[in-house]
Assembly symmetry: C2
Homo-oligomer: 306 residues x 2
């Protein structure tokens, strides 16, 4: 069997005592997601399934800004975005501004499988999720004790929450048949306006997959990732400049996000089982497993997979 590979991220962040304190938990959750995705790949399952399974675990965890644990809008609501992309066909599915869907990445997958639309938003997306048999949850289920406290504190102080934690999650994978896939899921920006959609729902911005180049999942300043078409820029640099995966990721991050004043990062995998991470924030939590190698995780520094 050809080498399979998977990488998972839990978003970028600034250094803080809180980030330090939870780093162990974050790495453990990411390792679990990597393992779940890798098990599927090792069993010969498609990359699309592996990235979905990895993201579902992070959405359910509560530690990340996606699914349960999603940040609150300025009105105290939970609105989530997610997307998933298939590198073999370039087909994709995405949902944005959805409420009450336990696993937005599964709703994105339902849009992909429905094979009619690429992006559904709001109640229309929730309806498709329901029709696809996906689990719905009441709004309070998504709100962790931490977020409750944070939102009340900010509401009283008249502040918009911003603790430098973006916490979007994502995964990229290569399966045994040589197909790539990527998925991204987020609870949005702290204190965002209702109806705001960031890069995580947008193919070419936060998510991209094409077998001939790479599968990419981004995180960070969503509006600037959109302005730089960050995920598609990785693909464009590989196709038009023949850059390798890592150089393409580094250059895309610099030109497609850093030059616009944005902070963030991305993970990527290509069909030769190369993995890459690039970020210009202080921290980016991530984990990966390449073929029969160990599961590795990192939060700061510039550790990459060999």
């Amino acid at each position: 069997m050809a080498d399979v590979a998977i990488a998972v991220h839990g978003g970028t962040a600034k250094r803080s005592p809180r980030r330090e304190a939870e780093a162990g938990q974050v790495r453990a959750a990411i390792a679990t997601a990597v393992a779940a995705g890798h098990d599927l790949l090792a069993a010969g399952r498609p990359a699309l399934e592996a990235v979905e399974a990895a993201v579902v675990l992070l959405e359910d965890d509560g530690l990340f800004n996606a699914g349960r644990g999603s940040l609150l809008t300025d009105e105290g609501a939970i609105e989530m975005d997610a997307s998933i992309a298939d590198g073999e066909t370039q087909r994709s599915g995405a949902v944005a501004a959805v409420r009450g869907v336990r696993n937005p990445v599964r709703a994105a997958r339902a849009v992909l499988d429905d094979d009619e639309h690429a992006l559904l938003v709001g109640e229309g997306a929730v309806r498709l999720a329901r029709a696809s048999g996906l689990e719905l949850r009441p709004e309070w289920w998504f709100v962790t004790a931490d977020h409750q406290a944070g939102w009340l504190e900010n509401a009283e102080a008249g502040l918009t929450a911003d603790e430098g934690q973006l916490g979007t999650v994502g995964a990229v994978a290569l399966d045994a048949r040589g197909n790539l896939a990527a998925a991204t899921s987020t609870g949005g920006r702290p204190g965002q306006r209702p109806g705001r959609v960031g890069d995580s729902a947008l193919i070419g911005a936060g998510t991209w997959a094409r077998n001939a180049t790479a599968a990419v999942s981004c995180t960070g300043d969503g509006e600037l990732i959109i302005a730089g078409a960050l995920a598609h820029e990785v693909d464009a640099l590989m196709r038009h400049r023949q850059l390798g995966l890592r150089e393409a990721c580094d250059q895309a991050l610099t030109a497609g996000l850093g030059a616009l004043g944005g902070s963030g990062g991305l993970i990527a995998v290509d069909a030769e089982a190369n993995l890459a991470v690039a970020f210009n924030s202080e921290l980016m939590s991530r984990g990966w497993k390449l073929g029969g190698g160990p599961i590795e995780t990192a939060v700061g520094g510039n550790e990459r997979n060999g």
Copy 2:
């Protein structure tokens, strides 16, 4: 004063007796929109203002699938998408799945000016439009007699409306200061599911502007334009392969849409006042004016501006 330039499109379509019959009206409406945008450019106003003004006229006209005249969802509702992009700053604004906003492109501009988000959907977008003093209209105002008849006919026959008319509108412009801008607006796909968002609201897919490369507005099979990141592909070909505007548009259309089995087209302008159109559909209605030259319009063929 440096040469200013503007191009406007009214979407792609298949040949049909109905298209033939309305071609004169379509060309007249497009010429009016070109003139309005050009008047602003000639007066030294920004490209951003010119593309907005041109698109507003097409949204109000009733002949196009944008604003008044928008196609109906499968439930008989009107949901509209629009985006606008500033080539000087790479900032953009977009709205999707909005109801009741007379001019979605103005709502997209309000998102841009608000300078906080890049894409707002649904009721959140309508709220910003209202807060920005934009005009709202009851739903029936958007529905022309033609669309009423077409929808009822299809509803009775159990069909999804599809007369090969996509009819999205868009504009690209270069102003006297050398800044580029692009805008796109649509009523969506005939019979689309509520909440469906296509390429017209998505920066990098249906709309793009960067002074160093081009301003681009696309139209056609929205899901496939998203899959090919069509507008950003024009930009990538110019930056990474040093292609000229026309070659970049042709190659992007072939690789970014045609290769995926998609039908559609795009208009573009660069900072040297080159204009380009590329489409693989039978018809694409468009018009343009370059500097002190005449207003020209075309619907079929391969007429381009010299």
